[in-house]
């Protein structure tokens, strides 16, 4: 390791230099593109001269597309085009060469690992959004009433900044197992043995190990739910609450019967947003169990077939299934957004 040190230092400088140049090229390229393209448009259709009126209209029709072009091109290549290619690939063989009809889908339905993944994904879909939303609602209600509420919010919100891989390490330490007779260094086993239980390898326990993975995501997502719901709670008109106090409602009644019904819309938004995150959950499963011991999920199954199975047909089919599961929420979102713009 002594020889490459100089070369490595140079490589590092070069790498940072390349990043800096890219930023400059990206930013100035962008500004340059917009400036030049607008300039050209104004040259072709000058807003003066004999045909000024017609020119202004034409330039006005074209200009929005100049503004949109780079974004549309990137979105087209990086998000729209892949959807079609994936559909195409899912009807082809492992190398994407021969058309195989619905073979991949038939194989998928009969595959034990796929069924396991579907089942686990459904469990994730029920448990994580429900638990995160509920805990987020409790956290929002509680932190809104105390003086150090902002500090408390920041602490509960903090896991949002932590990567899934980092969170996986954090929680693996909690689930750590030591054989009987040794001192337990994982909190869960320490508590469990102190209560008289037998130390467990929690992540390999069939049936419940998935829940230990789900808890990690709940820990991360609760802060998100709390922030959104807290804003919604604060937006509730004071009069409704004052009226219920006058009518003699208890604090719990006020919360569940007056406040919660008024923020149903927001709760639904939080729920669906977390649902989308859950459908794509990958890092946590990959790094904590890699889908072993009955914890496989769709996104990791897809990754398995992509890199370990080297089968673009089956991998794409798994990806399409994820897409199909996301689609209802996508349509719901689009409808809501359309309603709002109108």
């Amino acid at each position: 390791m002594t020889v490459p040190v100089i070369g490595e230092g140079e490589a590092r400088v070069e790498q940072l230099g390349m990043a800096a140049v890219t930023i400059l090229v990206g930013v100035f390229g962008c500004i340059g593109y917009f400036f030049v393209s607008n300039l050209i448009l104004d040259r072709i259709y000058p807003a003066s001269g004999p045909q000024a009126g017609r020119n202004i209209n034409r330039a006005g029709a074209i200009r929005p597309w100049l503004f949109l072009m780079p974004a549309l091109a990137l979105l087209g290549v990086y998000l729209v085009y892949p959807v079609f290619v994936s559909v195409w690939l899912s009807f082809h063989d492992a190398r994407g060469e021969t058309f195989v009809g619905a073979d991949n889908y038939v194989w998928l339905i009969n595959d034990a690992k796929f069924r396991e993944s579907m089942w686990n994904n459904l469990m994730w879909l029920v448990f994580v959004p429900a638990a995160s939303t509920f805990l987020g609602l409790v956290a929002a209600a509680v932190t809104d009433r105390i003086r150090w509420g902002n500090f408390a919010k920041a602490m509960i919100f903090m896991p949002m900044a932590i990567s899934f891989v980092g969170a996986a390490v954090i929680w693996k330490l909690i689930y750590e197992y030591r054989p009987d007779g040794q001192e337990q260094i994982g909190v869960l086993n320490a508590v469990w043995t102190a209560m008289g239980g037998q130390a467990q390898t929690w992540l390999t326990l069939p049936g419940v190990n998935s829940f230990f993975l789900m808890i990690v995501l709940v820990w991360i997502q609760t802060g998100f739910a709390m922030v959104i719901l807290s804003a919604a709670l604060r937006g509730i008109p004071e009069e409704t609450i004052e009226a219920s106090i006058l009518d003699g409602a208890s604090p719990l009644q006020i919360f569940f019967k007056i406040k919660v019904p008024q923020i149903w819309g927001t709760i639904l938004v939080v729920w669906t947003t977390i649902t989308i995150t859950v459908l794509k959950v990958f890092d946590i499963v990959l790094t904590m169990t890699n889908g072993q011991w009955g914890t496989q999920v769709l996104a990791n199954l897809m990754y398995d077939w992509m890199f370990r199975g080297n089968d673009t047909g089956r991998a794409s089919t798994a990806a399409i299934i994820i897409m199909l599961m996301v689609t209802p929420i996508m349509i719901w979102n689009i409808r809501n957004a359309a309603k709002e713009t109108r």
Partner: protein, 376 residues
């Protein structure tokens, strides 16, 4: 607000205590990792991290050197040394048999086997003396109950950043995330302006399209894009991952910025138009500066997302030393160093340190972005 007589003070207590419980519960996991990263390997295997703050009491078994190391001091044979063998600690009590390892307090001189006398001092120094010559190659066993004070070390950090390659990975992560954060901002801002303030047919459709693309799973894009990158010669390169992150981040960027720009006062833009400003000027001189909060929100999102991302990096970058990012490195360490918690905890903390700093410094913008970004 809830001043129902008599119940108020109790309610305040309940609320404060449950908030405290929630906060402690949420901090506990991360705090455990932080504490562990400052403990050395032996400490981590010896006790749970929650015991790190207290002096640890443990029973050690030490075997004294054999007869060969005995020294003749004026007719008395002496074997001496330190039971901690250079380590630190303080002896509370000692003993000569496994049945009663804490029989005598430190400092006493007690009879041991074969007519020898044993003294163990508090600092661990021991002295075996005998009038007759010692016999046998194997020395005597000494049991000590020692109290080790809480001890923390920065060694793990040095080791992880150097030998374990995390320093290089840190640089790689920075190389990925900074351009991937900066580049989409302008591209998205221009598009958002068009979608917010320019009239053209198909605008509503495009907005709907952006909302739809917000939730398209990344998994769908991986294989086609990897193929594309290989075909056009990008392969696994930083340029490839910058483009990928830019593409994946654009829907959120456009959506957030458009929603923000739509809310800007119409009069400002109209009057600028009347004064003869072009769209390009309006955008650059009025909209962009006014949209700073939304730009900041998106920048934080994108930075956290690209810094913390594992999947895109696994697919679009190689796993050679000059391309492996920190999350990837951490994943590899979890595989190869599964039980070495001092390495894992420290590496994990290095990877989450920057996002945590950004998070606490810019929390305001992050919250604003979340509120604007969740589809209502």
């Amino acid at each position: 607000m809830d001043n129902i007589v008599g119940t108020k003070s109790r309610l305040v207590w309940v609320v404060n205590l449950s908030a405290l419980a929630l906060v402690l519960l949420w901090l506990f996991p991360t705090f455990g990792l932080l504490v562990s990263s400052f403990r050395d390997r032996d400490q981590i295997t010896a006790s749970g991290w929650w015991k790190a703050m207290f002096p640890a009491e443990q029973t050690l078994q030490y075997r004294a050197p054999g007869a060969g190391d005995a020294v003749d001091e004026n007719g008395v044979f002496v074997i001496s040394g330190n039971v901690f063998e250079g380590g630190r600690g303080s002896v509370k009590s000692f003993g000569t048999s496994a049945r009663d390892p804490g029989a005598f307090p430190a400092g006493e001189t007690v009879p041991a086997d074969d007519g020898a006398d044993l003294t163990v001092l508090q600092n661990g120094d021991f002295r075996l003396t005998s009038a007759t010559e010692f016999e046998g190659r194997r020395g005597m066993r000494i049991f000590v109950t020692s109290v080790t004070p809480p001890r923390f070390t920065f060694e793990n950090y040095g080791r992880v950043l150097g030998a374990e390659g995390l320093g290089r990975a840190f640089l790689n992560t920075m190389t990925v995330s900074i351009p991937a954060t900066v580049i989409p901002i302008l591209v998205a801002a221009f598009a958002a302006y068009a979608l917010a303030w320019m009239e053209f047919p198909g605008r509503a459709l495009l907005v709907a399209g952006v909302v739809g693309l917000l939730v398209v799973p990344l998994q769908l894009a991986l294989i086609p894009l990897l193929k594309l990158h290989n075909e056009i010669g990008l392969g696994k390169s930083y340029l490839g991952i910058w483009l990928a992150h830019t593409g994946f981040g654009l829907p959120l960027a456009v959506y957030l910025l458009r929603n923000y720009m739509v809310g800007l006062p119409r009069e400002i833009i109209e009057s600028a138009r009347v004064d003869g400003a072009t769209d390009f000027q309006i955008f650059l001189k009025i909209i962009l500066p006014l949209s700073f909060p939304a730009l900041a929100s998106f920048a934080i999102f994108q930075f956290l997302w690209t810094w913390n991302d594992l999947l895109v990096a696994l697919v679009f970058l190689g796993n050679t030393q000059d391309q492996l990012v920190m999350t990837g490195q951490l994943k590899e360490l979890m595989g190869s160093r599964g039980g070495d918690w001092e390495i894992l905890a420290t590496s994990a903390f290095v990877t989450i340190a920057v996002p945590l700093v950004v998070f606490f410094a810019m929390q305001k913008y992050l919250v604003r972005g979340l509120l604007a970004g969740s589809v209502k």
